[in-house]
C-alpha cells in the first residue's frame, strides 16, 4: 500500500529525514518509536504533504500513485489521514460544517453522492458513539479551546468519519487519560481491516497493548535504525534508547 524509498527531507536548511525506507501492506499496523526530535512528526508531515518541508530525494508510492506529487487535499482524498500531534485550533470554523465539507469533497472524489444534512448527522451520531465524543464539543469551533485530550479524541473522530486507507497517528496517545486511551485504541481497532493500514507514532508501550502492531520501527536521526515485532517495543520500554544509539554509532 505504502512504499517509502530513501526519503530525505529538510526544513529551513536543516535536513531531518536522512533516507527512510518503509514498506507497509494493507491490513498492517506499524509502530514508529524513537527519541524526541528524531524526525517522527517530520515523516508524518511529509507524508501528509506539508509544504514547509522540502523533499530532497527518494520516493513515496501510495496505492500505485506518486504520493509526493499530490497536494495535501488530494492525498487526503486518496485515503491518507494524519492525526496531528498538535491539532490546530481554527476559531470561527464550525467543526460540523468543516467535517461535512471534508467528507463530501472526499465522497465526490470517490464517485459517491455527497451526503445531505440528515444522513450526515446520522453518520456523525454513529461515529461519535464509536469514539465516545460529546456532541457539545462538536458544536464548537474547530479545536478552539479544546483540552489536549479533547483535541486527540477529535482527531480520531475525524478519522472515523473519513474512513482513510492509511491512518498516521502521531502521538495520539499523549495527553490522553487511561479511559480515553482505551476508547481511542478501541476506535482505531474497530476501523482496522484487511484493506487499510495504520502507522502509530508513539513513545509508550502502553498504547501498543491496545493497538497491537505487526511491526515496530525505531527512528533515530532521520533514519529507521531498527525494525522488529511488538517485542521490540517491550525491549525499548525496559531499556530505553541508549543501546540502540550505541549500536548506531558503532556501525
Amino acid at each position: 500500500m505504502l512504499s517509502i524509498k530513501n526519503l530525505q527531507a529538510k526544513i529551513d536548511d536543516k535536513q531531518i529525514l536522512n533516507g527512510i525506507n518503509l514498506e507497509i501492506k494493507a491490513g498492517e499496523v506499524h509502530a514508529i518509536m524513537g527519541p524526541n526530535g528524531s524526525g517522527k512528526s517530520t515523516l508524518a508531515s511529509v507524508l501528509a504533504g506539508r509544504e514547509e518541508y522540502e523533499v530532497l530525494g527518494g520516493e513515496v508510492e501510495f496505492l500505485g500513485k506518486d504520493l509526493l506529487a499530490l497536494e495535501p487535499d488530494e492525498r487526503a482524498r486518496e485515503g491518507v489521514f494524519l492525526a496531528f500531534q498538535y491539532p490546530v485550533e481554527i476559531p470561527g470554523v464550525s467543526t460540523i460544517n468543516f467535517m461535512k465539507t471534508a467528507l463530501n469533497q472526499i465522497r465526490t472524489h470517490r464517485g459517491q453522492q455527497p451526503l445531505d444534512a440528515v444522513s450526515f448527522l446520522g453518520l456523525m451520531k454513529e461515529k461519535m458513539k464509536l469514539v465516545e465524543i460529546d456532541q457539545s464539543l462538536l458544536n464548537r469551533a474547530l479545536n478552539e479551546g479544546f483540552s489536549g485530550g479533547e483535541k486527540k479524541r477529535n482527531e480520531i473522530f475525524q478519522m472515523a468519519m473519513l474512513e482513510p486507507k492509511l491512518a498516521i497517528l502521531d502521538e495520539t496517545d499523549s495527553g490522553l487519560d487511561i479511559d480515553a486511551l482505551k476508547i481511542v485504541a478501541n476506535g482505531v481497532n474497530k476501523l482496522r481491516s484487511k484493506n487499510n493500514a495504520v502507522i502509530v507514532v508513539t513513545h509508550y508501550q502502553r498504547l501498543l497493548e491496545y493497538i497491537v502492531p505487526d511491526f515496530v520501527h525505531v527512528l533515530y536521526k532521520g533514519k529507521i535504525v531498527k525494525s522488529g515485532t511488538k517485542e521490540l517495543a517491550l525491549e525499548l520500554e525496559a531499556k530505553g534508547y541508549d543501546w540502540i544509539k550505541d549500536e548506531v554509532s558503532v556501525a
Binding site: 487535499d73 476559531p91 470554523v93 469533497q105 472524489h109 469551533a141
Partner: protein
C-alpha cells in the same frame, strides 16, 4: 506643487457650491464655506489624511463642473435589501424621492422627514440638535458639507417609542450622464428610552464617477438604544467621505456597523461622544477590499464622564492591490473614572500588493480605567490551511472557510435576522464561499 493643486481644487469646489446654493442667505453656511476655504482640502501631509490623499483622488477623478442631468433610473428595487419590512427612504443623486420611499411605521412612533423642511418649519427638536455636534473648524470636509448640503433626512424617535421596523436609507447615484457630486446631511434624534435601527446603503448605476460627502449627526438621549448600519457595497465608481457624529447621554446604547465591501474610495469618520454615565457603545467594522479600493476608517470614542463602556472591533481582508487604513482613538477625560474601553483591529493581507495601516491612539487622563487595544496584521494561517487541506478540503475552499470565519466574527453581532441574511449572502459571495 501639491499645495497649489489642492488650493485650485478647493477653489473649484467653492465656486461649484456658490453656483448651486445661496450661501450668503444663511450665516452658518456662509461661515462654513469660509472655513472650508481657509482650511482647504486636506493636504497630502495632513496628519489625519496621510494615507488617504483625498485631494489627489478628487482632483484625478472629478471636474466639479456642473454635470448634465442623468437619465431615468429604472428598477430601483434591485438595490433593496430583500425580505426586510422597513421604512424605506430613497435618495436619488442626493435628492429625496417621494415616489420610491415608503414609511410604514406610524408617525407617533417615528418621524421621518426632510431635514431642510424640518429646519425651515423651526421644528424644535431639529433646531435644538442640528449642527450642534459636528466640529466644522477642524475638518474641511465637515465644513464643506455644512456649507453645501442640499438635502437630508431628519429622523426623530420620540421618548419611550420602540420602533421595531428599521429605517433604511438607500442612496442611489445615477451617474449615467457624467460625474455626480452629492452632499447630504442627516440628523437622527433618539428620544429618552426609545429604540430604533437605521441602515444606510449606497448604490449606483452608470459608469461615471460619483462622490458623496455625507454627514450624519446623531443624538441618543438617556436610556435610548440605536443601531446604525452603513453598508458600502457599490459595484461602481464610488468615492465617499462619511462623517457620523454621535452624541450619547446617560445609559444609552449604540451599536454601529460599518461594512465596506465594494467601491473605490471610502473615508469613514465615526465619532462617538459619551457624555453621560452607564453608556454602552459598540463599534463594529468589516472591510473586505479588492481591486484598488481604498477604505479608511477613522474612529474616535470620547469618554467624557465616568462609568461607561465602549468596545470596538474592526476587521479587514485586503486582496489584490487594495489599501486598508484604520485609526482608532480612545479619549478618557480626567473625570471619566471607571471607564472600560476596548479596541481591536485585525487584518489579513492576501497579496504582497495589498497594504494596511493601522494605528491605535489612546489618550487617557483618568487613572481608574480599564483600557486595552490590539492590532494584528498577517497572512492566512498556513498551519490552519494545511490542517483543513489534510482532511481533503481543497485549497480554495479551505481559504474561503477561514476568511469567512474571520469575517463571521463581525457578522455574528448583527442581530436583525433579514439584515444578517443579506449581509451574510453578500459577504459569502465576496469571499467565494462554496461550502
Amino acid at each position: 506643487m501639491s499645495v497649489t493643486t489642492t488650493d485650485n481644487l478647493t477653489g473649484q469646489i467653492v465656486s461649484a457650491v456658490q453656483q448651486k446654493i445661496n450661501v450668503k442667505a444663511d450665516p452658518l453656511r456662509n461661515e462654513a464655506l469660509q472655513i472650508f476655504q481657509e482650511l482647504g482640502l486636506p493636504a497630502p501631509k495632513h496628519e489625519e489624511y496621510k494615507h488617504t490623499p483625498i485631494a489627489r483622488y478628487l482632483e484625478k477623478n472629478f471636474s466639479f463642473a456642473a454635470s448634465p442631468a442623468s437619465g431615468p433610473l429604472a428598477d430601483i428595487k434591485r438595490f433593496f435589501i430583500p425580505g426586510v419590512d422597513a421604512n424605506v427612504i430613497v435618495m436619488i443623486d442626493g435628492v429625496f424621492s417621494q415616489a420610491h420611499s415608503r414609511v410604514i411605521s406610524p408617525e407617533t412612533e417615528i418621524k421621518i422627514q426632510s431635514l431642510g423642511e424640518a429646519l425651515a418649519a423651526k421644528n424644535p427638536v431639529a433646531t435644538q440638535h442640528f449642527a450642534k455636534y459636528l466640529d466644522i473648524r477642524n475638518n474641511s470636509l465637515a465644513a464643506w458639507n455644512t456649507a453645501a448640503w442640499n438635502q437630508g433626512i431628519f429622523i426623530h424617535v420620540p421618548d419611550n417609542k420602540v420602533v421595531e421596523t428599521p429605517v433604511i436609507i438607500y442612496y442611489i447615484s445615477n451617474a449615467t450622464a457624467g460625474e455626480n457630486i452629492v452632499v447630504n446631511r442627516n440628523l437622527i434624534v433618539a428620544g429618552k428610552n426609545s429604540q430604533a435601527t437605521v441602515v444606510e446603503k449606497f448604490d449606483s448605476t452608470g459608469s461615471a464617477n460619483h462622490f458623496t460627502n455625507l454627514v450624519t449627526e446623531v443624538f441618543v438621549d438617556e436610556n435610548a438604544g440605536l443601531d446604525l448600519y452603513s453598508i458600502q457595497h457599490d459595484l461602481n465608481n464610488r468615492f465617499q467621505h462619511n462623517i457620523t457624529e454621535i452624541f450619547q447621554k446617560n445609559s444609552s446604547r449604540v451599536n454601529t456597523f460599518t461594512f465596506t465591501l465594494q467601491g473605490k474610495f471610502f473615508r469613514n469618520n465615526l465619532h462617538l461622544a459619551l457624555d453621560g454615565e452607564g453608556i454602552e457603545s459598540h463599534m463594529y467594522g468589516l472591510y473586505l477590499l479588492n481591486s484598488d479600493t481604498l477604505a479608511d476608517n477613522h474612529t474616535v470614542v470620547d469618554h467624557k464622564k465616568p462609568n461607561s463602556f465602549s468596545n470596538e472591533l474592526y476587521k479587514g481582508i485586503m486582496d489584490e492591490s487594495s489599501k486598508g487604513i484604520f485609526n482608532g482613538k480612545i479619549f478618557v477625560r480626567p473625570n471619566a473614572q471607571k471607564t472600560n474601553a476596548f479596541q481591536a483591529n485585525r487584518n489579513i493581507l492576501l497579496t504582497d500588493k495589498a497594504t494596511v495601516n493601522t494605528k491605535p491612539q489612546l489618550e487617557i487622563w483618568a487613572d481608574d480605567v480599564k483600557c486595552s487595544h490590539g492590532c494584528t496584521t498577517g497572512q492566512l494561517d498556513e498551519e490552519a490551511l494545511f490542517y483543513l487541506q489534510s482532511r481533503g478540503i481543497n485549497k480554495d475552499t479551505a481559504r474561503a472557510m477561514m476568511l469567512y470565519a474571520f469575517a463571521g466574527e463581525v457578522l455574528d453581532y448583527v442581530k436583525h435576522p433579514q439584515l444578517k441574511d443579506y449581509l451574510d449572502s453578500v459577504i459569502s459571495d465576496r469571499l467565494h464561499k462554496n461550502f
